[in-house]
Symmetry: C2
Subunit: 151 residues, 2 copies
């Protein structure tokens, strides 16, 4: 995957968290994930189609997903419910949308965001689109943004 595709997702994630949640993210070193490593418990996913295709996955622990939903809705849901799914889906959509604007030449359209739940879930990309993982830390917990785009 072209490393130039990574920076727009990195910047967009930081901006969306700052603007939408007033939350500062500290970025850690990106890495290429070759194994099927487990994700955090809640993962928003969205597909990209255009001059090429790709997928963005934003993975975070349950507690952080609940805290983000609380920040957005003003009330903490008792568990991971449809409100949390919609909030994390929308957050994923905003990150992908902001990155899309910075990758105008790829003419991306965004798919429907879905949310994967499960504590030992692994998300596997096709071998021709090995994802790059970008870990972040925040006062609410860690998150990982993964981007796999066909070369």
């Amino acid at each position: 995957m072209n490393a130039d595709y990574i920076n727009p997702f990195l910047v967009s994630t930081v901006n969306v968290f700052q603007q939408m949640l007033a939350l500062e993210l500290v970025r850690e070193a990106p890495f290429i994930r070759k194994e099927f490593a487990p994700q955090y418990e809640v993962t928003g996913m969205i597909g990209l189609t255009g001059k090429t295709t790709g997928t963005v996955a934003v993975s975070l622990p349950c507690d952080m997903a609940l805290a983000i939903t609380e920040k957005l809705l003003g009330e903490r849901p008792p568990e991971v419910n449809a409100q949390v799914v919609d909030a994390i889906g929308e957050m994923t959509n905003m990150i992908a949308g902001a990155a899309k604007a910075k990758l105008e030449h790829l003419q991306f359209n965004l798919g429907l965001p879905t949310v994967i739940l499960g504590c030992s879930t692994r998300i596997a990309f096709p071998s021709r689109a090995t994802p790059i993982s970008i870990p972040f830390r925040s006062s609410l917990g860690p998150l990982i943004v993964e981007v796999g785009i066909l070369a």
Copy 2:
């Protein structure tokens, strides 16, 4: 979701299994899934963008994913590895591609197929795109095709 969108996915799944795997699928009654029910262990997912957006998920047990990969490659992988991920991703792509051809007016483009692994994984759609689930039986095991498309 418009029920007219379901039949193309149903027919495409049966055809892809027949043509690609010489496997007859027996269809069971479709249902609307409202809960976050666990899927089978291996789920191929692909996003659709066009006049509307959607996601197709094809969920099946590990054993069946291994048997399908064996049929396609002539050799059974020892475990769910990159070959299985690619085979199930490609199968999902073929089902979505065949359905896309039957839904020409929606002008769908297909995203990158990803594969979700995990035995208690749940896949949640946004509340505005409640999926319809289509269960099938076969001599290799069961599978469920889920389609969520914005109305």
